[in-house]
């Protein structure tokens, strides 16, 4: 018995090791549907399960229309483009093998999108090492001055959102007393420090700073404490059902009157909109809520092209059209097309060749032709021109660290959940706030 068990153990172990190797080998060499060398793959590495499961689909919704636009124009030098999800479960330890497997078994990876604050710290080094251009949605300030040459960020770091909110509150509304209500998660807490520094630096008062546990059944005590400080406005980002619960209780405990509240760009999101309007009513959100958002106009030829493709992929992903006004979705779409055009321009599928050109396609070099559709870009390149991509999210301005920022707009929702721009921060305003906030 004893001896036979040892034998079984080894047998199974050896069998297993062989299986693993076989699987790994399959993944790297043979076409597994998406792995053929004649097609190119865009990896969407993001949380698809776990507490941040809402993020993955928003990024997947960026990939599908980009792939459609590229494929309809004949692909990248004839190579078709497809999308695949890689679930990080929103945590670094699961993200690492997901990223390693993605890299190892898909030699045709042209770019990777996603990598949120949940996993960027563990995923970005892997992708950089593997020479895969990435477009990340992390707001972490550690990437403000990154040495990863394959890293691209089309959204500003979180603290800039905070500065924009401060600017909006002080310069547009003349609010003087601000309550900070942020979730105790990674993404949300990043706003608190910079916002407090900027507010205090500019002479406003922080009446209360609450870090609230997400997903709690109620926050009435917190709300009562907050109301007792009589703020002019509440700054918030608490995702999942949390903001909905909290704001419903604000309205309830303030005798049915909602205080003005202001969200980060993460609150410009269909999921957040449906949760909060469900809890406090659409009209209240329309009347009392404002947010800062990346300078996206949701108009123009680049946006129209994106919207057309996004609506068209609903056959594959029914809820995709819901993301038509989500900044992150637009920007990742832009990133993918920039990478594709960079490949066309360099006539190379080797990322070490085309990676550096992504920046040129985004910022435009002298004499470059502005294009808003992938097809137009390919045509221009065939004519020997350099191109500048101005897509769904408008102009791109990569700095030396491949961080692109466009300034902020001030927005509110309309009754159907579309965002309406009602103002923008000037360069001078932004600079003053950033200086006060120590950014």
């Amino acid at each position: 018995m004893l001896a036979s068990h040892h034998r079984v153990g080894r047998g199974v172990g050896v069998l297993f090791a062989m299986l693993t190797l076989a699987l790994a080998a399959c993944g790297s060499s043979t076409p597994g549907g998406s792995t053929s060398t004649s097609s190119l793959l865009i990896g969407v590495i993001a949380p698809f399960t776990g507490p941040d499961a809402a993020l993955g689909p928003a990024y997947f919704a960026a990939c599908l229309p980009a792939a459609r636009a590229i494929n309809n124009a004949g692909g990248v030098m004839g190579h078709k483009v497809s999308c695949q999800e890689f679930d990080t479960r929103g945590e670094p330890a699961d993200a690492v093998p997901a990223a390693q497997q993605m890299v190892a078994s898909h030699s045709n990876l042209m770019a990777v999108v996603g990598c949120t604050s949940d996993e960027a710290a563990s995923v970005a080094p892997i992708l950089n090492q593997a020479h895969i251009p990435m477009f990340c949605m992390t707001g972490q300030s550690e990437f403000n001055k990154t040495t990863f040459t394959y890293f691209h960020r089309l959204v500003p770091p979180d603290e800039f959102d905070a500065f924009a909110m401060v600017g909006s509150a002080l310069d547009h509304f003349n609010y003087k007393k601000v309550a900070l209500v942020f979730g105790n998660d990674i993404g949300s807490q990043a706003f608190v420090g910079p916002a407090m520094a900027a507010l205090q630096g500019l002479g406003a008062t922080v009446t209360i700073n609450q870090a609230i546990a997400l997903g709690q059944p109620s926050y009435r005590t917190e709300v009562t404490a907050m109301l007792a400080t009589h703020p002019d406005v509440i700054f918030t980002e608490a995702l999942g059902p949390t903001d909905a619960t909290y704001m419903a209780e604000v309205k309830q405990l303030n005798n049915g009157v909602m205080l003005p509240f202001m969200g980060t760009s993460a609150t410009i999101d269909p999921v957040w909109f449906s949760a909060v309007t469900g809890a406090i009513g659409v009209q209240t959100v329309v009347d009392k809520f404002t947010a800062v958002d990346l300078g996206v106009s949701f108009s123009g030829p680049g946006y129209t092209e994106f919207k057309t493709n996004l609506d068209a992929v609903a056959s594959q992903f029914p809820t995709a059209p819901k993301y038509s006004q989500r900044g992150a979705t637009l920007h990742l779409y832009d990133g993918i097309i920039q990478a594709a055009l960079a490949m066309d321009e360099t006539k190379s599928t080797d990322p070490t060749v085309y990676n550096t050109v992504i920046k040129d396609v985004g910022n435009g070099v002298a004499g470059a032709t502005t294009v808003n559709t992938y097809a137009a870009g390919v045509a221009a390149i065939k004519n020997g021109q350099k191109v500048r991509w101005v897509g769904a999210g408008g102009l791109t301005n990569y700095n030396q660290y491949n961080n692109s920022q466009q300034g902020y707009i001030l927005v509110r929702y309309d009754a159907t959940g579309n965002e309406i721009k009602f103002g923008a921060l000037t360069q001078a305003q932004t600079a003053a706030i950033i200086a006060a906030g120590g950014g």
Binding site: F16, T20, F48, R89, Q100, A121, N184, F317
Partner: protein
């Protein structure tokens, strides 16, 4: 390829360590440590804050205690010690007088409390954002992205797993291991036979904690980042599933379980062709892990490699002949 293979192998080593520890506690001794993952987390955090420089470095984007910038292997040794030292206080709260299933949920609650405390105290261990840019061991002397380094790291992790495997073998094949199994089978009877149940449980709790701490150090040294989302209590459940599938109380079973469930099953599902809306496959993966546990507990509750029966060498002159049970096994 090197990256992926080394990643799989390092994770295999980490999961083997964790499963060996759980098998010692749960399989051999009958202690259901549903707070297991906090021991691994304690090791990881310890190794991280000891190998990181002060939190004012790197622009001060993260906050944490210590930051002693110690060189390898001190952080790993400390991680092992902290894992061990965490055991007595938790053990004293939970292990003394509670019924076994009651112990299990009490530990589950402890696991949640620990996560809440760390998440809500950013100055302690980085709060919800956790710690990143944790230096890899000896990364000041070698290039941590080179193939050689990765294979050396993998080899080191596997060697540690093998060493711990032999330690676990020594434990379960010893008279001490037999006492642990006796305790698992009937605690009251074991006490009446002179077994100090609290001390026995506590030693195995400490040993398991040390192994878990080491596994955390190996993991964090490889992935260079650690956060509360890494050690939510479902992670413990996956490890229990592995031990149940592999065979509890049998170290070969623990190893097999680690290779089949957290490594094999999760890696294999990555190769599924995509289908359905985004998020469907990952959700189904979790459904399968749940189903795997239920299936095994139903069809093969003792696992693929059950605890083996221990037969002692026959005495010089066999006494028995003709008895139906004589010489079985």
């Amino acid at each position: 390829m090197t990256y992926y293979l080394t990643t799989v192998l390092v994770y295999a080593a980490v999961d083997i360590l964790a499963c060996l520890a759980i098998s010692l506690q749960f399989g051999v001794s009958g202690i259901v440590n549903f707070s297991f993952i906090i021991f691994q987390a304690a090791g990881a955090y310890t190794a991280a804050v000891l190998s990181l420089p002060r939190d004012t470095a790197n622009g001060g984007f993260q906050t944490y205690i210590l930051g002693l910038n110690l060189s390898f292997p001190l952080p790993w040794i400390a991680a092992t010690l902290v894992g061990a030292l965490l055991a007595p206080p938790i053990g004293l709260v939970v292990l003394r007088r509670l019924r076994s299933d009651y112990q299990a949920i009490a530990m589950l609650v402890l696991s949640v409390i620990a996560s809440l405390v760390v998440t809500n105290t950013p100055a302690f261990l980085g709060g919800a954002a956790g710690l990143s840019l944790v230096p890899q061991p000896l990364s000041d002397k070698f290039n941590p992205y080179s193939d050689g380094y990765l294979w050396a790291y993998t080899a080191g992790a596997l060697v540690l797993a093998v060493v711990v495997f032999f330690i676990a073998q020594r434990i379960i094949n010893s008279p001490y291991g037999r006492s642990l199994r006796a305790l698992r089978e009937n605690e009251v009877a074991a006490k009446a036979l002179g077994k100090n149940a609290v001390a026995l449980k506590m030693t195995v709790f400490v040993v398991g904690g040390a192994i878990a701490g080491l596994s955390g150090a190996i993991l964090v040294g490889f992935i260079t980042t650690w956060a509360p989302s890494t050690w939510l209590y479902p992670e413990t459940l996956i490890l229990f599933a592995a031990v149940i599938v592999g065979g509890r109380g049998n170290n070969f079973g623990a190893v097999l379980g680690a290779l089949l469930v957290p490594v094999g099953f999760e890696e294999a599902t990555r190769y599924l062709p995509p289908f359905g809306p985004p998020g469907l496959i990952p959700a189904l993966e979790w459904v399968c892990i749940g189903g795997l546990i239920l299936g095994f507990l139903w069809f093969r509750p003792r696992g693929v490699l059950p605890e083996r029966r221990r037969v002692f060498a026959a005495r010089p002159q066999p006494v028995v002949a003709g008895e139906p049970n004589a010489g079985r096994d």
